[in-house]
Amino acid sequence: MMERRTFADREDVLGAVMLAPALAYVIVLVGVPFVLAIVLSFSNATAGSLSFGWAGLGNYAAILGDPIFLRALRNSAVVTVGTQLLVVILATAAAQVFRATFRGKRFARFVLLLPWAVPVSLAAIAWTWIFDSTFSVINWTLKASGLLHGWLYWLGDPGLALTAIIIVQAWRIFPFATVIVLAGLASIPQEIVEAAVVDGAGFWRRLFQVELPLLLPVVAVAVLFGVVYTATDLGVVYILTGGGPANTTHVLPTLAFQRGILGADLGQGAAIAVFLLPFLIVVAVAMLRLARRAEVGGAAR
Protein backbone atom coordinates (compact mmCIF):
# COMPACT_ATOMS: atom_id res chain seq x y z
CA MET A 1 0.00 0.00 0.00
CA MET A 2 2.82 2.38 0.85
CA GLU A 3 4.40 2.32 -2.60
CA ARG A 4 1.07 3.24 -4.19
CA ARG A 5 1.21 6.58 -2.46
CA THR A 6 3.33 8.07 -5.20
CA PHE A 7 3.50 11.56 -6.60
CA ALA A 8 0.28 10.88 -8.52
CA ASP A 9 -1.68 10.62 -5.29
CA ARG A 10 -0.08 13.36 -3.20
CA GLU A 11 -2.77 16.05 -3.13
CA ASP A 12 -0.52 18.62 -1.47
CA VAL A 13 2.25 18.18 -4.03
CA LEU A 14 -0.14 18.22 -6.98
CA GLY A 15 -1.89 21.24 -5.56
CA ALA A 16 1.35 23.15 -5.15
CA VAL A 17 2.60 22.23 -8.63
CA MET A 18 -0.63 23.34 -10.29
CA LEU A 19 -0.78 26.56 -8.34
CA ALA A 20 2.89 27.49 -8.72
CA PRO A 21 2.79 29.12 -12.21
CA ALA A 22 -0.12 31.39 -11.29
CA LEU A 23 1.45 32.32 -7.98
CA ALA A 24 4.78 32.99 -9.67
CA TYR A 25 3.16 35.18 -12.32
CA VAL A 26 1.27 37.18 -9.73
CA ILE A 27 4.27 37.62 -7.44
CA VAL A 28 6.84 38.42 -10.13
CA LEU A 29 4.67 40.55 -12.40
CA VAL A 30 2.23 42.15 -9.98
CA GLY A 31 3.76 41.98 -6.51
CA VAL A 32 7.29 43.03 -7.44
CA PRO A 33 6.20 45.85 -9.80
CA PHE A 34 3.80 47.05 -7.12
CA VAL A 35 6.70 47.41 -4.67
CA LEU A 36 8.83 48.88 -7.44
CA ALA A 37 6.13 51.46 -8.16
CA ILE A 38 6.52 52.73 -4.62
CA VAL A 39 10.33 52.43 -4.61
CA LEU A 40 10.61 54.38 -7.87
CA SER A 41 8.62 57.22 -6.39
CA PHE A 42 11.58 57.87 -4.04
CA SER A 43 14.10 57.84 -6.89
CA ASN A 44 15.21 60.14 -9.66
CA ALA A 45 14.84 57.43 -12.31
CA THR A 46 14.32 58.57 -15.88
CA ALA A 47 13.27 56.64 -18.94
CA GLY A 48 16.56 57.42 -20.66
CA SER A 49 19.01 55.58 -18.40
CA LEU A 50 18.68 52.44 -16.35
CA SER A 51 20.70 53.56 -13.36
CA PHE A 52 19.05 55.75 -10.79
CA GLY A 53 19.79 57.38 -7.48
CA TRP A 54 17.70 58.16 -4.46
CA ALA A 55 15.72 61.33 -4.35
CA GLY A 56 14.28 60.80 -0.89
CA LEU A 57 11.08 62.74 -0.59
CA GLY A 58 12.13 65.03 -3.44
CA ASN A 59 9.45 63.87 -5.86
CA TYR A 60 6.76 64.23 -3.24
CA ALA A 61 7.94 67.70 -2.27
CA ALA A 62 7.94 68.67 -5.95
CA ILE A 63 4.43 67.47 -6.71
CA LEU A 64 2.89 68.71 -3.46
CA GLY A 65 4.11 72.18 -4.34
CA ASP A 66 2.72 71.88 -7.86
CA PRO A 67 -0.73 73.43 -8.41
CA ILE A 68 -1.33 71.18 -11.43
CA PHE A 69 -0.90 68.10 -9.24
CA LEU A 70 -3.13 69.45 -6.49
CA ARG A 71 -5.76 70.21 -9.08
CA ALA A 72 -5.45 66.67 -10.48
CA LEU A 73 -5.79 65.18 -7.01
CA ARG A 74 -8.94 67.21 -6.41
CA ASN A 75 -10.31 66.32 -9.86
CA SER A 76 -9.75 62.64 -9.16
CA ALA A 77 -11.72 62.89 -5.92
CA VAL A 78 -14.50 64.96 -7.49
CA VAL A 79 -14.86 62.70 -10.52
CA THR A 80 -14.76 59.51 -8.46
CA VAL A 81 -17.33 60.65 -5.90
CA GLY A 82 -19.56 62.42 -8.43
CA THR A 83 -19.59 59.39 -10.69
CA GLN A 84 -20.49 56.98 -7.89
CA LEU A 85 -23.38 59.19 -6.72
CA LEU A 86 -24.77 59.27 -10.24
CA VAL A 87 -24.16 55.55 -10.73
CA VAL A 88 -25.94 54.52 -7.51
CA ILE A 89 -29.02 56.57 -8.41
CA LEU A 90 -29.10 55.41 -12.03
CA ALA A 91 -28.39 51.77 -11.19
CA THR A 92 -31.01 51.35 -8.44
CA ALA A 93 -33.59 53.05 -10.66
CA ALA A 94 -32.62 51.01 -13.72
CA ALA A 95 -32.71 47.80 -11.69
CA GLN A 96 -36.31 48.57 -10.67
CA VAL A 97 -37.19 48.91 -14.36
CA PHE A 98 -35.30 45.85 -15.56
CA ARG A 99 -36.69 43.49 -12.91
CA ALA A 100 -40.16 44.01 -14.36
CA THR A 101 -41.19 42.15 -17.48
CA PHE A 102 -42.02 44.23 -20.52
CA ARG A 103 -42.07 43.87 -24.27
CA GLY A 104 -38.68 44.23 -25.91
CA LYS A 105 -36.78 43.53 -22.70
CA ARG A 106 -34.16 41.37 -24.40
CA PHE A 107 -33.32 44.17 -26.80
CA ALA A 108 -33.37 46.71 -23.96
CA ARG A 109 -30.91 44.57 -22.00
CA PHE A 110 -28.65 44.30 -25.02
CA VAL A 111 -28.56 48.08 -25.38
CA LEU A 112 -28.09 48.59 -21.64
CA LEU A 113 -24.95 46.43 -21.68
CA LEU A 114 -23.38 48.21 -24.66
CA PRO A 115 -21.53 50.90 -22.65
CA TRP A 116 -19.88 48.23 -20.55
CA ALA A 117 -18.86 46.06 -23.49
CA VAL A 118 -17.31 48.76 -25.67
CA PRO A 119 -13.59 49.46 -25.12
CA VAL A 120 -13.13 52.57 -22.96
CA SER A 121 -10.95 54.27 -25.54
CA LEU A 122 -13.51 53.83 -28.33
CA ALA A 123 -16.36 55.05 -26.12
CA ALA A 124 -14.24 58.06 -25.19
CA ILE A 125 -13.55 58.95 -28.82
CA ALA A 126 -17.29 58.69 -29.60
CA TRP A 127 -18.06 61.05 -26.72
CA THR A 128 -15.32 63.42 -27.91
CA TRP A 129 -17.26 63.68 -31.16
CA ILE A 130 -20.54 64.11 -29.28
CA PHE A 131 -19.02 66.98 -27.26
CA ASP A 132 -17.30 68.53 -30.29
CA SER A 133 -17.07 72.30 -30.07
CA THR A 134 -18.62 72.90 -33.50
CA PHE A 135 -20.74 69.84 -34.22
CA SER A 136 -22.01 68.80 -30.76
CA VAL A 137 -25.36 67.10 -31.21
CA ILE A 138 -26.11 67.91 -27.56
CA ASN A 139 -25.84 71.61 -28.27
CA TRP A 140 -28.04 71.28 -31.36
CA THR A 141 -30.71 69.41 -29.43
CA LEU A 142 -30.65 71.85 -26.51
CA LYS A 143 -30.87 74.81 -28.87
CA ALA A 144 -33.58 73.24 -31.03
CA SER A 145 -35.69 72.57 -27.94
CA GLY A 146 -35.16 76.13 -26.76
CA LEU A 147 -33.26 75.22 -23.60
CA LEU A 148 -29.97 76.77 -24.64
CA HIS A 149 -29.41 80.25 -25.94
CA GLY A 150 -25.66 80.66 -25.80
CA TRP A 151 -23.16 77.95 -26.63
CA LEU A 152 -21.59 75.20 -24.51
CA TYR A 153 -17.88 74.55 -25.13
CA TRP A 154 -18.05 71.18 -23.43
CA LEU A 155 -14.38 70.29 -23.53
CA GLY A 156 -13.05 73.83 -23.62
CA ASP A 157 -14.27 74.99 -20.22
CA PRO A 158 -12.83 73.37 -17.05
CA GLY A 159 -16.16 73.08 -15.22
CA LEU A 160 -18.05 71.73 -18.21
CA ALA A 161 -15.19 69.39 -19.10
CA LEU A 162 -15.26 67.83 -15.63
CA THR A 163 -19.03 67.48 -15.94
CA ALA A 164 -18.54 65.78 -19.30
CA ILE A 165 -15.97 63.42 -17.75
CA ILE A 166 -18.38 62.50 -14.95
CA ILE A 167 -21.20 61.90 -17.45
CA VAL A 168 -19.01 59.58 -19.53
CA GLN A 169 -17.73 57.68 -16.48
CA ALA A 170 -21.25 57.24 -15.11
CA TRP A 171 -22.50 56.15 -18.53
CA ARG A 172 -19.74 53.58 -18.74
CA ILE A 173 -20.18 52.15 -15.23
CA PHE A 174 -23.93 52.24 -14.48
CA PRO A 175 -24.82 49.23 -16.67
CA PHE A 176 -22.38 47.11 -14.68
CA ALA A 177 -23.81 48.42 -11.40
CA THR A 178 -27.35 47.78 -12.63
CA VAL A 179 -26.59 44.16 -13.40
CA ILE A 180 -25.03 43.69 -9.97
CA VAL A 181 -28.02 45.28 -8.22
CA LEU A 182 -30.36 43.08 -10.28
CA ALA A 183 -28.44 40.00 -9.12
CA GLY A 184 -28.86 41.29 -5.56
CA LEU A 185 -32.60 41.85 -6.00
CA ALA A 186 -33.00 38.31 -7.29
CA SER A 187 -31.31 36.96 -4.18
CA ILE A 188 -33.61 38.72 -1.68
CA PRO A 189 -35.76 36.01 -0.08
CA GLN A 190 -39.23 36.30 -1.58
CA GLU A 191 -40.92 35.68 1.81
CA ILE A 192 -39.59 38.95 3.19
CA VAL A 193 -40.95 41.00 0.31
CA GLU A 194 -44.28 39.16 0.37
CA ALA A 195 -44.59 39.68 4.12
CA ALA A 196 -44.06 43.41 3.60
CA VAL A 197 -46.71 43.49 0.88
CA VAL A 198 -49.16 41.58 3.06
CA ASP A 199 -48.49 44.11 5.82
CA GLY A 200 -49.58 46.81 3.40
CA ALA A 201 -46.28 48.27 2.23
CA GLY A 202 -46.60 50.11 -1.10
CA PHE A 203 -43.95 50.38 -3.84
CA TRP A 204 -41.88 53.15 -2.25
CA ARG A 205 -42.03 51.73 1.25
CA ARG A 206 -41.08 48.32 -0.06
CA LEU A 207 -38.20 49.88 -1.97
CA PHE A 208 -36.77 52.13 0.74
CA GLN A 209 -37.52 50.19 3.92
CA VAL A 210 -37.27 46.57 2.81
CA GLU A 211 -35.27 46.13 -0.36
CA LEU A 212 -32.64 48.86 -0.26
CA PRO A 213 -31.39 47.94 3.25
CA LEU A 214 -31.11 44.31 2.13
CA LEU A 215 -29.37 45.44 -1.05
CA LEU A 216 -26.78 47.51 0.74
CA PRO A 217 -23.94 44.94 0.57
CA VAL A 218 -24.55 44.44 -3.14
CA VAL A 219 -24.72 48.15 -3.89
CA ALA A 220 -21.49 48.45 -1.90
CA VAL A 221 -19.80 45.92 -4.19
CA ALA A 222 -20.96 47.89 -7.22
CA VAL A 223 -19.69 51.15 -5.72
CA LEU A 224 -16.32 49.64 -4.78
CA PHE A 225 -15.68 48.37 -8.29
CA GLY A 226 -16.95 51.70 -9.56
CA VAL A 227 -14.39 53.55 -7.44
CA VAL A 228 -11.58 51.40 -8.80
CA TYR A 229 -12.80 51.82 -12.39
CA THR A 230 -13.16 55.60 -12.12
CA ALA A 231 -10.24 56.61 -9.92
CA THR A 232 -7.73 54.53 -11.86
CA ASP A 233 -9.04 55.18 -15.36
CA LEU A 234 -6.74 56.90 -17.80
CA GLY A 235 -8.55 56.49 -21.13
CA VAL A 236 -11.57 58.73 -20.68
CA VAL A 237 -9.72 61.85 -19.59
CA TYR A 238 -6.70 61.22 -21.84
CA ILE A 239 -8.86 61.04 -24.95
CA LEU A 240 -11.65 63.44 -24.00
CA THR A 241 -9.58 66.41 -22.82
CA GLY A 242 -5.96 65.28 -22.63
CA GLY A 243 -5.92 67.08 -19.27
CA GLY A 244 -6.72 70.38 -20.91
CA PRO A 245 -7.70 73.15 -21.20
CA ALA A 246 -4.45 74.41 -19.63
CA ASN A 247 -3.95 71.31 -17.40
CA THR A 248 -7.18 71.97 -15.50
CA THR A 249 -8.85 68.58 -16.01
CA HIS A 250 -5.98 66.20 -15.30
CA VAL A 251 -6.70 63.30 -12.99
CA LEU A 252 -3.95 61.33 -11.21
CA PRO A 253 -3.51 58.67 -13.94
CA THR A 254 -3.26 61.15 -16.83
CA LEU A 255 -0.83 63.38 -14.97
CA ALA A 256 1.26 60.37 -13.94
CA PHE A 257 1.34 59.31 -17.59
CA GLN A 258 2.25 62.78 -18.81
CA ARG A 259 5.10 63.22 -16.31
CA GLY A 260 6.28 59.61 -16.05
CA ILE A 261 6.03 58.32 -19.62
CA LEU A 262 5.76 61.30 -21.98
CA GLY A 263 8.00 63.48 -19.79
CA ALA A 264 10.29 60.50 -19.03
CA ASP A 265 10.44 61.45 -15.33
CA LEU A 266 9.66 57.98 -13.97
CA GLY A 267 10.23 59.02 -10.36
CA GLN A 268 7.70 61.80 -10.41
CA GLY A 269 5.23 59.73 -12.44
CA ALA A 270 5.47 56.97 -9.85
CA ALA A 271 4.99 59.46 -6.99
CA ILE A 272 1.80 60.79 -8.61
CA ALA A 273 0.46 57.28 -9.17
CA VAL A 274 1.13 56.42 -5.52
CA PHE A 275 -1.64 58.85 -4.60
CA LEU A 276 -4.06 56.32 -6.11
CA LEU A 277 -3.27 54.03 -3.19
CA PRO A 278 -5.63 55.67 -0.66
CA PHE A 279 -8.54 55.06 -3.07
CA LEU A 280 -7.50 51.42 -3.47
CA ILE A 281 -6.86 50.77 0.22
CA VAL A 282 -10.31 52.03 1.14
CA VAL A 283 -11.78 49.71 -1.47
CA ALA A 284 -9.71 46.69 -0.44
CA VAL A 285 -10.56 47.08 3.27
CA ALA A 286 -14.26 47.52 2.52
CA MET A 287 -14.21 44.46 0.26
CA LEU A 288 -12.58 42.32 2.91
CA ARG A 289 -15.17 43.37 5.47
CA LEU A 290 -17.98 42.62 3.04
CA ALA A 291 -16.50 39.24 2.19
CA ARG A 292 -16.15 38.38 5.86
CA ARG A 293 -19.73 39.39 6.53
CA ALA A 294 -20.88 37.23 3.60
CA GLU A 295 -18.87 34.35 5.07
CA VAL A 296 -20.39 34.79 8.53
CA GLY A 297 -23.86 35.19 7.05
CA GLY A 298 -23.34 32.05 4.99
CA ALA A 299 -22.28 30.08 8.05
CA ALA A 300 -25.29 31.31 10.03
CA ARG A 301 -27.73 30.18 7.37
Binding site: V26, Y238, L276, L277, L280
Partner: protein, 287 residues
Amino acid sequence: MTRAALRRVTRRAALYAAALGFIGFAGFPFYWMLVTAFKQNRDLYVGASDLSHVPWIFNDPPTLEHVKLLFGQTDFPHWVLNTLLVVAAVVIITVAVAVPAGYSLARLAGRWGERLGMGIFFTYLIPPTLLFVPFARLVSLLGLQNSLASLVLIYPTMTIPFCTWLVMGFLRSVPWEIEEQAMIDGYSRLAVIVKVAPRLIVPGILTVIVFTFTLVMQEFVYALTFISSVDKMTVSLGVPIALVRGDVYHWGALMAAALFTSIPLAIVYNVFIDRFIQGFTMGAVKG
Protein backbone atom coordinates in the same frame (compact mmCIF):
# COMPACT_ATOMS: atom_id res chain seq x y z
CA MET B 1 -62.27 52.64 -16.72
CA THR B 2 -61.97 51.79 -13.06
CA ARG B 3 -59.46 53.49 -10.79
CA ALA B 4 -57.42 50.32 -10.42
CA ALA B 5 -57.22 49.82 -14.18
CA LEU B 6 -56.20 53.44 -14.66
CA ARG B 7 -53.45 53.05 -12.09
CA ARG B 8 -52.21 49.93 -13.79
CA VAL B 9 -52.07 51.67 -17.16
CA THR B 10 -50.22 54.66 -15.68
CA ARG B 11 -47.70 52.35 -14.06
CA ARG B 12 -47.11 50.46 -17.32
CA ALA B 13 -46.65 53.75 -19.13
CA ALA B 14 -44.19 54.97 -16.50
CA LEU B 15 -42.28 51.68 -16.78
CA TYR B 16 -41.96 51.97 -20.55
CA ALA B 17 -40.99 55.62 -20.31
CA ALA B 18 -38.27 54.81 -17.76
CA ALA B 19 -37.02 51.88 -19.85
CA LEU B 20 -36.84 54.13 -22.91
CA GLY B 21 -34.94 56.72 -20.90
CA PHE B 22 -32.28 54.24 -19.81
CA ILE B 23 -31.99 52.73 -23.29
CA GLY B 24 -31.70 56.22 -24.71
CA PHE B 25 -28.88 57.19 -22.36
CA ALA B 26 -27.00 53.89 -22.75
CA GLY B 27 -27.54 53.53 -26.50
CA PHE B 28 -27.31 57.12 -27.72
CA PRO B 29 -23.53 57.13 -28.39
CA PHE B 30 -23.93 53.94 -30.43
CA TYR B 31 -26.76 55.43 -32.46
CA TRP B 32 -24.49 58.40 -33.00
CA MET B 33 -21.64 56.10 -34.16
CA LEU B 34 -24.04 54.45 -36.62
CA VAL B 35 -25.34 57.70 -38.05
CA THR B 36 -21.85 59.23 -38.30
CA ALA B 37 -20.30 56.15 -39.89
CA PHE B 38 -22.69 56.16 -42.85
CA LYS B 39 -23.34 59.86 -43.41
CA GLN B 40 -21.97 61.78 -46.35
CA ASN B 41 -19.47 64.46 -45.38
CA ARG B 42 -21.65 67.35 -46.51
CA ASP B 43 -24.43 65.95 -44.29
CA LEU B 44 -22.00 65.29 -41.43
CA TYR B 45 -20.09 68.53 -41.14
CA VAL B 46 -22.86 71.05 -40.67
CA GLY B 47 -22.34 73.21 -37.59
CA ALA B 48 -24.70 72.50 -34.72
CA SER B 49 -25.75 76.15 -34.61
CA ASP B 50 -27.63 75.64 -37.90
CA LEU B 51 -30.99 74.68 -36.44
CA SER B 52 -32.61 73.97 -39.82
CA HIS B 53 -30.30 70.95 -40.35
CA VAL B 54 -31.40 68.03 -38.17
CA PRO B 55 -28.26 66.02 -37.25
CA TRP B 56 -30.17 63.01 -35.88
CA ILE B 57 -31.24 61.69 -39.29
CA PHE B 58 -29.81 61.07 -42.75
CA ASN B 59 -30.56 64.23 -44.69
CA ASP B 60 -28.66 62.82 -47.68
CA PRO B 61 -28.59 59.13 -48.66
CA PRO B 62 -26.20 56.99 -46.55
CA THR B 63 -22.75 56.20 -47.94
CA LEU B 64 -20.11 53.50 -47.55
CA GLU B 65 -17.32 56.00 -48.20
CA HIS B 66 -16.05 56.02 -44.58
CA VAL B 67 -16.14 52.24 -44.30
CA LYS B 68 -14.11 51.93 -47.50
CA LEU B 69 -11.63 54.49 -46.19
CA LEU B 70 -11.33 52.58 -42.91
CA PHE B 71 -10.66 49.20 -44.48
CA GLY B 72 -8.83 50.38 -47.59
CA GLN B 73 -6.63 53.28 -46.58
CA THR B 74 -5.97 52.98 -42.86
CA ASP B 75 -4.13 50.48 -40.69
CA PHE B 76 -7.39 49.29 -39.15
CA PRO B 77 -7.26 45.76 -40.70
CA HIS B 78 -3.68 45.51 -39.46
CA TRP B 79 -4.74 46.49 -35.92
CA VAL B 80 -7.48 43.87 -35.96
CA LEU B 81 -4.88 41.26 -36.87
CA ASN B 82 -2.50 42.47 -34.13
CA THR B 83 -5.32 42.36 -31.59
CA LEU B 84 -6.29 38.81 -32.57
CA LEU B 85 -2.65 37.68 -32.31
CA VAL B 86 -2.37 39.11 -28.82
CA VAL B 87 -5.73 37.61 -27.86
CA ALA B 88 -4.62 34.16 -29.01
CA ALA B 89 -1.31 34.30 -27.13
CA VAL B 90 -2.83 35.69 -23.93
CA VAL B 91 -5.65 33.13 -24.03
CA ILE B 92 -3.12 30.29 -24.25
CA ILE B 93 -1.07 31.63 -21.34
CA THR B 94 -4.13 32.37 -19.22
CA VAL B 95 -5.77 29.00 -19.74
CA ALA B 96 -2.50 27.15 -19.14
CA VAL B 97 -1.84 29.02 -15.89
CA ALA B 98 -5.21 29.98 -14.41
CA VAL B 99 -7.18 26.80 -14.99
CA PRO B 100 -4.82 24.47 -13.08
CA ALA B 101 -4.50 27.12 -10.36
CA GLY B 102 -8.26 27.40 -10.01
CA TYR B 103 -8.56 23.62 -9.83
CA SER B 104 -5.84 23.43 -7.24
CA LEU B 105 -7.50 26.08 -5.06
CA ALA B 106 -10.94 24.51 -5.32
CA ARG B 107 -10.05 20.83 -4.98
CA LEU B 108 -6.55 20.35 -3.61
CA ALA B 109 -5.55 23.20 -1.36
CA GLY B 110 -8.01 22.45 1.42
CA ARG B 111 -9.02 25.27 3.70
CA TRP B 112 -6.18 27.47 2.47
CA GLY B 113 -7.75 27.53 -0.98
CA GLU B 114 -10.35 30.17 -0.21
CA ARG B 115 -7.91 32.62 1.42
CA LEU B 116 -5.22 32.16 -1.21
CA GLY B 117 -7.82 32.53 -3.95
CA MET B 118 -9.03 35.79 -2.49
CA GLY B 119 -5.45 37.01 -2.18
CA ILE B 120 -4.87 36.31 -5.86
CA PHE B 121 -8.17 37.94 -6.77
CA PHE B 122 -7.24 41.10 -4.92
CA THR B 123 -4.25 41.64 -7.16
CA TYR B 124 -6.83 42.15 -9.92
CA LEU B 125 -7.70 45.40 -8.16
CA ILE B 126 -4.18 46.79 -8.54
CA PRO B 127 -4.68 49.03 -11.55
CA PRO B 128 -2.56 49.41 -14.70
CA THR B 129 -2.24 53.11 -13.92
CA LEU B 130 -0.24 52.25 -10.81
CA LEU B 131 1.92 49.64 -12.50
CA PHE B 132 2.66 51.22 -15.85
CA VAL B 133 5.68 53.13 -14.56
CA PRO B 134 7.58 50.05 -13.30
CA PHE B 135 6.37 48.05 -16.30
CA ALA B 136 7.70 50.69 -18.69
CA ARG B 137 11.08 50.11 -17.07
CA LEU B 138 10.78 46.33 -17.09
CA VAL B 139 9.70 46.25 -20.72
CA SER B 140 12.62 48.38 -21.84
CA LEU B 141 15.00 46.29 -19.70
CA LEU B 142 13.81 43.19 -21.57
CA GLY B 143 14.12 45.02 -24.88
CA LEU B 144 10.43 44.50 -25.57
CA GLN B 145 9.43 48.12 -26.04
CA ASN B 146 7.19 48.78 -29.02
CA SER B 147 6.41 45.09 -29.58
CA LEU B 148 3.31 42.96 -29.30
CA ALA B 149 5.36 40.64 -27.08
CA SER B 150 5.27 43.27 -24.32
CA LEU B 151 1.48 43.08 -24.30
CA VAL B 152 1.54 39.27 -24.33
CA LEU B 153 3.82 39.35 -21.29
CA ILE B 154 1.88 41.94 -19.30
CA TYR B 155 -1.81 41.26 -20.08
CA PRO B 156 -1.85 37.96 -18.16
CA THR B 157 -1.18 39.98 -15.00
CA MET B 158 -4.80 41.10 -15.37
CA THR B 159 -6.37 37.92 -16.73
CA ILE B 160 -4.72 35.33 -14.46
CA PRO B 161 -6.02 36.69 -11.12
CA PHE B 162 -9.59 37.09 -12.29
CA CYS B 163 -9.69 33.82 -14.23
CA THR B 164 -8.18 31.78 -11.39
CA TRP B 165 -10.97 33.13 -9.23
CA LEU B 166 -13.58 32.38 -11.91
CA VAL B 167 -12.42 28.76 -12.33
CA MET B 168 -12.29 28.24 -8.57
CA GLY B 169 -15.83 29.55 -8.19
CA PHE B 170 -17.01 27.52 -11.16
CA LEU B 171 -15.59 24.27 -9.80
CA ARG B 172 -17.40 24.75 -6.50
CA SER B 173 -20.66 24.42 -8.42
CA VAL B 174 -19.50 21.16 -10.03
CA PRO B 175 -20.28 18.14 -7.85
CA TRP B 176 -17.24 16.39 -6.48
CA GLU B 177 -18.92 12.96 -6.87
CA ILE B 178 -17.84 12.39 -10.46
CA GLU B 179 -14.17 12.75 -9.60
CA GLU B 180 -14.64 10.81 -6.40
CA GLN B 181 -16.24 7.92 -8.31
CA ALA B 182 -13.31 7.89 -10.74
CA MET B 183 -10.93 7.54 -7.81
CA ILE B 184 -12.98 4.70 -6.35
CA ASP B 185 -12.76 3.08 -9.79
CA GLY B 186 -8.98 3.04 -9.38
CA TYR B 187 -7.85 6.26 -11.00
CA SER B 188 -4.96 7.99 -9.27
CA ARG B 189 -5.44 11.62 -8.20
CA LEU B 190 -3.28 12.71 -11.12
CA ALA B 191 -5.26 10.57 -13.59
CA VAL B 192 -8.47 12.19 -12.39
CA ILE B 193 -6.98 15.62 -13.03
CA VAL B 194 -5.70 14.69 -16.48
CA LYS B 195 -8.55 12.48 -17.72
CA VAL B 196 -11.73 13.37 -15.83
CA ALA B 197 -11.48 16.99 -14.71
CA PRO B 198 -10.93 18.63 -18.13
CA ARG B 199 -14.37 17.50 -19.33
CA LEU B 200 -15.97 19.00 -16.24
CA ILE B 201 -14.17 22.35 -16.55
CA VAL B 202 -14.98 23.00 -20.22
CA PRO B 203 -17.68 25.64 -19.54
CA GLY B 204 -15.32 27.31 -17.06
CA ILE B 205 -12.54 27.36 -19.65
CA LEU B 206 -14.93 28.90 -22.16
CA THR B 207 -15.66 31.73 -19.71
CA VAL B 208 -11.93 32.24 -19.20
CA ILE B 209 -11.40 32.53 -22.97
CA VAL B 210 -14.23 34.99 -23.34
CA PHE B 211 -13.09 37.14 -20.42
CA THR B 212 -9.55 37.22 -21.79
CA PHE B 213 -10.83 38.13 -25.24
CA THR B 214 -12.89 41.04 -23.95
CA LEU B 215 -10.11 42.30 -21.70
CA VAL B 216 -7.50 42.33 -24.45
CA MET B 217 -9.95 44.04 -26.81
CA GLN B 218 -10.60 46.76 -24.24
CA GLU B 219 -7.16 47.39 -22.78
CA PHE B 220 -5.75 50.83 -23.48
CA VAL B 221 -3.27 51.92 -20.78
CA TYR B 222 -0.50 49.36 -21.32
CA ALA B 223 -0.86 49.52 -25.09
CA LEU B 224 -0.51 53.31 -24.92
CA THR B 225 2.55 52.98 -22.68
CA PHE B 226 4.46 50.30 -24.59
CA ILE B 227 3.49 50.72 -28.24
CA SER B 228 4.59 53.72 -30.24
CA SER B 229 4.62 52.73 -33.91
CA VAL B 230 1.35 52.68 -35.77
CA ASP B 231 1.79 49.24 -37.34
CA LYS B 232 2.19 47.57 -33.91
CA MET B 233 -0.99 48.99 -32.42
CA THR B 234 -4.08 47.14 -31.27
CA VAL B 235 -7.59 48.27 -32.19
CA SER B 236 -8.38 50.03 -28.92
CA LEU B 237 -5.15 52.03 -29.18
CA GLY B 238 -4.94 52.64 -32.91
CA VAL B 239 -8.46 53.91 -33.46
CA PRO B 240 -8.44 56.82 -31.00
CA ILE B 241 -4.72 57.63 -31.37
CA ALA B 242 -3.65 56.95 -34.95
CA LEU B 243 -6.82 57.47 -36.98
CA VAL B 244 -6.52 61.14 -36.15
CA ARG B 245 -4.23 62.51 -38.83
CA GLY B 246 -2.59 65.62 -37.49
CA ASP B 247 -5.52 67.79 -36.56
CA VAL B 248 -7.92 66.16 -39.00
CA TYR B 249 -10.41 63.86 -37.38
CA HIS B 250 -11.99 61.46 -39.90
CA TRP B 251 -15.10 61.15 -37.78
CA GLY B 252 -16.91 58.87 -40.22
CA ALA B 253 -14.12 56.30 -40.30
CA LEU B 254 -13.50 56.68 -36.55
CA MET B 255 -17.10 55.96 -35.68
CA ALA B 256 -17.26 53.07 -38.15
CA ALA B 257 -14.24 51.52 -36.40
CA ALA B 258 -15.79 52.04 -32.96
CA LEU B 259 -19.05 50.50 -34.14
CA PHE B 260 -17.51 47.43 -35.77
CA THR B 261 -15.39 46.74 -32.70
CA SER B 262 -18.28 47.15 -30.28
CA ILE B 263 -20.72 44.76 -31.94
CA PRO B 264 -18.88 41.45 -31.35
CA LEU B 265 -18.04 42.50 -27.79
CA ALA B 266 -21.66 43.41 -27.06
CA ILE B 267 -22.87 40.01 -28.27
CA VAL B 268 -20.29 38.19 -26.18
CA TYR B 269 -21.22 40.21 -23.10
CA ASN B 270 -24.88 39.39 -23.47
CA VAL B 271 -24.16 35.69 -23.48
CA PHE B 272 -21.63 35.61 -20.65
CA ILE B 273 -22.79 38.38 -18.38
CA ASP B 274 -24.11 36.13 -15.61
CA ARG B 275 -20.83 34.24 -15.27
CA PHE B 276 -18.83 37.48 -15.02
CA ILE B 277 -21.19 38.83 -12.40
CA GLN B 278 -20.78 35.72 -10.27
CA GLY B 279 -17.08 36.45 -10.31
CA PHE B 280 -17.44 40.11 -9.41
CA THR B 281 -19.89 39.75 -6.55
CA MET B 282 -17.63 37.19 -4.81
CA GLY B 283 -20.39 35.45 -2.94
CA ALA B 284 -21.88 38.71 -1.60
CA VAL B 285 -24.84 37.66 -3.70
CA LYS B 286 -25.72 34.13 -2.74
CA GLY B 287 -28.98 32.54 -3.76
